[in-house]
């Protein structure tokens, strides 16, 4: 079967610093994959390469068998590749409702309409409402984003990615900085995603990662250290050494 997302010998260096080192990784459709590694391992950089924010120094990226290495970020999003950001990338002055409606309009390909109002398609409103409710943002959907508490903003970060109905979803530490309860709710939402959605999850919370993922890749110093099912990763002495060492001061 064609992988949903495939990286072939992906390398990125900033000057002399190699941040992504010959990474080859392949995600099957519907796979729940986790990417872990100590701070500075190059996880976010990998997401930036996949989404086209950064251009790789060498290597290739394929989405559902299609070469996207050269494609601009907005085209990759249109092909069904969505992401969330480790540091919130939201719209401070827009309300959650406006932001989500905007993402839905974009996905439906009607964001260039300048002659009609925002409410012409009832289906867009219904969809926005359902999504915001699903993420528990229904009651604050009319407040400007910048006035929302951090936990809510974090949820909106995910809502925006889900509004694209992605086929491949890259989550860069979605639970970073949210409370334990919020984190649990968040993972309930993620676990309830349609099974055909391929998910690459980056997180430092080992409990969550091991419960969520079918396969785990450990990235250290920009290179893949080891890859395998959760039990194997948990038992691997190299992982313990590298990762648990980093976690104790992270």
């Amino acid at each position: 079967m064609t992988p949903a997302l495939e990286m072939r010998r992906l390398t990125k260096s900033f000057g002399g610093l190699v941040v992504t080192n010959n990474v080859s990784l392949s995600l099957a459709p519907g796979e729940r994959h986790a990417l872990i590694g100590p701070n500075g391992a190059g996880k976010t950089t990998l997401v930036n390469l996949l989404t086209g924010v950064l251009a790789p120094s060498s290597g290739e990226i394929l989405l559902h068998g299609e070469h996207i290495t050269e494609k601009r970020p907005y085209l990759r999003a249109r092909l069904g590749l969505a992401r969330t950001f480790q540091v919130n990338q939201l719209f401070p002055l827009l309300t959650p409702l406006e932001a989500v409606v905007m993402a839905i309009l974009q996905r439906r390909g009607i964001a260039t309409r300048w002659w009609s109002g925002l409410t012409r398609d009832r289906a867009v409103l219904d969809e926005a409402w359902a999504l915001l409710e699903r993420l528990g943002l229904g009651d604050c959907r009319h407040e400007p984003t910048r006035e929302l508490p951090y936990g809510r903003q974090r949820l909106l970060e995910i809502a925006l990615a889900l509004a694209l109905q992605p086929r491949v979803l890259l989550l860069d530490e979605p639970a970073a900085g949210v409370s334990e309860t919020e984190g649990r709710d968040l993972f309930t939402t993620l676990a309830a995603l349609p099974p055909e959605v391929t998910v690459l999850l980056i997180d430092h919370d080992m409990d969550l990662v091991f419960r969520f993922a079918e396969r785990i890749t450990v990235l250290v110093g920009g290179a893949v250290l080891v890859q395998g099912p959760p039990q194997q990763i948990a038992a691997d002495p190299r992982v313990r050494e590298v990762y648990l060492g980093a976690e104790s001061h992270g």
Binding site: A77, L94, L105, W114, L125
Partner: protein, 340 residues
């Protein structure tokens, strides 16, 4: 059960907010503007100028306040529109409405072409490039004396009556009605655009261009669109000035023009549309007032007023008024809310 109740269709509140219906203050604003024709008969030439300045500022607000694109050279399009209307009228076609359309098309075309230069790079680069382009255009107009009349300006502009009926008169009556009518029509268009899917995308780009491209929006292309529209509107404003004053000179390209419109937008409240119009009017009144009191230092006092506004009335005059109004209302409403 609760889950089911929650997944019901969105309340009409969502629809109302996204639709942005006309508010009574907005209607009052336009009624008042129309009433000025009767209430201030001696001010009409000045008010016509204010309406033109308001339209130009509105085009800058669309660019800066809505899409977040900074420009120091928007007067280039104002000037191009002014000269297109002037040249048409001079060469024997003085029909005003088609003159406006021609000016809008040419200015919009120039906006479209230059947008590819302007929209690269950061805010600072944009400031420099827009300023550079406007200086180039002005210098080109200055050199092409055979076409533009050089520093003497364009002479012999004969504008026909509007619809072949209403002649431009010395008291500025026709000029005011004409300028206000065009301002209103353009305002309707801009308001429509701002509250459309395209307009929401522009506000998104202003807020976070990076996220917009992650959502699948070709940010550059959207900005080309809004830059073109803003240039066309500026061109129409320039044409209005030529037609109502029957004259056009190189001043229309000036850096003063660009900076005044920016000032009007910021003074009135960026991104509010009305702020641009109110700001242009206030700036004009302020200038005439200060010029009368201290003919030499009026620009100094404008600078002071501007700084005071930046320090104490962020969000512009409109933002300040809205805050004051909500505070007053909250003060009145608070006791009643505690009642069971």
């Amino acid at each position: 059960m609760i889950v089911e109740a929650k997944s019901a269709a969105p309340p009409t509140e969502d629809e109302r907010r996204l639709r942005a219906p006309w508010r009574s203050v907005e209607i009052a604003f336009w009624v008042l503007a129309a009433a000025a024709y009767l209430l201030l008969p001696h001010q009409l030439p000045l008010l016509a100028q204010a309406a033109i300045g308001g339209l130009f500022a509105l085009s800058v607000d669309l660019l800066l306040g809505i899409a977040g694109v900074m420009s120091l050279g928007h007067a280039a399009f104002f000037g191009i529109g002014g000269y297109v209307a002037g040249l048409l009228a001079q060469s024997g076609w003085g029909e005003p409405l088609s003159g406006l359309v021609a000016a809008g098309l040419v200015a919009g075309g120039c906006g479209f072409l230059s947008s590819f230069l302007v929209l690269r790079g950061s805010d600072l680069t944009r400031l420099m490039v827009t300023l550079g382009i406007s200086l180039l255009v002005m210098e080109a107009a200055n050199r092409m004396t055979w076409l533009t009349g050089g520093s003497d300006g364009l002479q012999g502009i004969d504008v026909w009556p509007i619809f072949g009926v209403w002649e431009f008169d010395l008291y500025g009556r026709t000029a005011y009605v004409y300028a206000l009518g065009v301002l209103f029509a353009c305002f309707l268009l801009v308001r429509r655009v701002v509250h459309s899917p395209f307009g929401l995308t522009l506000r998104g780009i202003k807020g976070n261009p990076r996220r917009m491209s992650a959502l699948g929006t070709p940010v550059g292309r959207r900005l080309v669109g809004v830059y073109t529209l803003a240039a066309a509107l500026a061109g129409i404003a320039g044409a209005l000035l030529t037609q109502t004053t029957q004259f056009v000179s190189l001043d229309v390209f000036g850096f003063d023009k660009s900076s005044e419109a920016l000032l009007a937008v910021v003074l009135g409240g960026a991104g509010t549309l009305y702020g641009a119009i109110v700001g242009a009017l206030m700036l004009m009144e302020l200038e005439t007032l200060l010029a009368r009191i201290t003919p030499e230092y009026w620009q100094f006092w404008i600078g002071i007023a501007f700084m005071a506004q930046a320090l104490y009335a962020r969000g512009g005059i409109l933002g300040f008024t809205v805050r004051l109004w909500t505070r007053l209302r909250r003060g009145v409403a608070a006791p009643s809310r505690t009642a069971p």
